[in-house]
């Protein structure tokens, strides 16, 4: 199936100047484009397409849409059919509806989030190029994030009313978009409620994640770093810049990822994520975290989950 990876996320920011300072100086992205409407487009040094983050000036925080890249133009037509056969309406947005991007298939996830698929985006190359490249460029800033790695979306969950958008999204991603489940958190009698779900479309432990909350929203967007040492350094950079850190360097049980949670100047949660944990494969047994160990799945060292984890998001 055609989905390769996360392509970009479009988030709302309330103070563009502060947002740019954050994503450039702390995360380490570079601005590659600004449009007439005031949107700013940025990329990480190790990404080759024109941008992976679109900042939209707004009076509120949160996510406008998330887009994944498919391999071929024909995948868009095939997926359009499959998504509609599943009962979800789609719209094919014409090329350049977003700058430098070909036609985009737009639809709303069962959880209510706006999702897009596209096959073409202008390729500008990584900052080290493709001919005899150095392992890293000389002008790294801040954390020097390699790439936008994944998003975690908060999905409505109300077991009494039988609402579980985590499970609904999971089914859609597996049956229609061709993702596979790597890990999950199951709670309730007999583990009947899928409270959190981690899905891959590559060999990474997750390319998207869903967690239950009482309203839909964006929990975080995550940037990839190489190693635990890079996580430590990223923490130093956040301290230097007085970035609001949510969760100091630690490890997730789920995905084995090494992590920092922090907030951008509009309160959108970011993550720096290191370590590919393990190789995700379609035939690998699904990892399940039980209700008693759910908090350890999220924060492995302490096994303590602050209530802000499922309450604070945009």
């Amino acid at each position: 199936m055609g989905v390769m990876r996360i392509g970009h996320v479009n988030i709302r920011v309330m103070d563009m100047e502060a947002a740019l300072k954050h994503y450039q100086n702390v995360v380490g992205m570079k601005t590659t484009h600004k449009d007439a409407k005031g949107n700013v487009y940025l990329k990480c040094w190790d990404e080759w397409d024109k941008y992976s983050l679109v900042l939209t000036p707004s009076e509120q925080a949160g996510m406008n849409h998330v887009a994944y890249k498919v391999e071929k133009e024909a995948d868009l037509d095939m997926l359009k059919q499959r998504i509609e056969a599943y009962g979800i309406k789609t719209e094919m947005l014409e090329a350049e509806s977003l700058p430098f991007v070909g036609r985009m298939l737009q639809f709303v996830l069962p959880s209510g989030h706006d999702m897009r698929l596209y096959a073409k985006k202008e390729c500008v190359g990584t900052d080290v190029g493709s001919t005899n490249p150095d392992p890293w460029p000389d002008d790294l800033r801040g954390a020097g994030a390699h790439w936008l790695d994944h998003v975690l979306l908060m999905c409505e969950m109300n077991p009494e009313k039988g609402i579980n958008k985590v499970a609904d999204n999971t089914r859609f991603f597996i049956e229609v978009l061709g993702f596979f489940q790597t890990e999950q958190i199951l709670v309730g009698p007999g583990g009947a409620i899928q409270l959190a779900s981690f899905l891959s479309c590559s060999s990474k432990p997750h390319d998207i994640a869903f967690v239950g909350g009482d309203r839909p929203g964006m929990h975080h967007l995550s940037f990839f770093l190489d190693s635990w040492h890079d996580i430590l350094k990223a923490g130093d950079i956040m301290a230097k810049n007085r970035t609001r850190i949510d969760v100091a360097p630690t490890r997730h049980g789920v995905t084995r990822g090494e992590t920092i949670y922090f907030f951008d100047p509009s309160g959108n949660r970011n993550e720096t994520f290191a370590g590919l944990g393990y190789q995700a494969q379609r035939d690998k047994p699904i990892i399940t975290w039980t209700e008693e160990q759910a908090a350890r799945g999220i924060f492995y060292h302490t096994g303590v989950l602050d209530e802000s984890f499922t309450t604070v998001y945009t």
């Binding site: 709670v187 908090a295 209530e307």
Partner: protein, 84 residues
Amino acid sequence: MARIGKKGIPAGCLNGGCGVCKVVIRCGTVRKAGAMSRAHISEEEETQGIVLACRVMPVSAIDLDVIGKMKKAVTRTLWGGNAV
């Protein structure tokens, strides 16, 4: 103001986006120190002294009530005994 942790004001993003620090100023004056998400504070609410505590600075002694709160019920039951 939320950063001080007074009056049991929940602290989340501290950047005006998440809304958990929503309070109503009963008396006294505050100065706005940054953007507050319209998803959490409407223009009308703002005129009534309803603000995000993380985005205001007290100018005088103030009295306030907390409106926003961390939702305990859902996390407590669904995330098992380890959630706090």
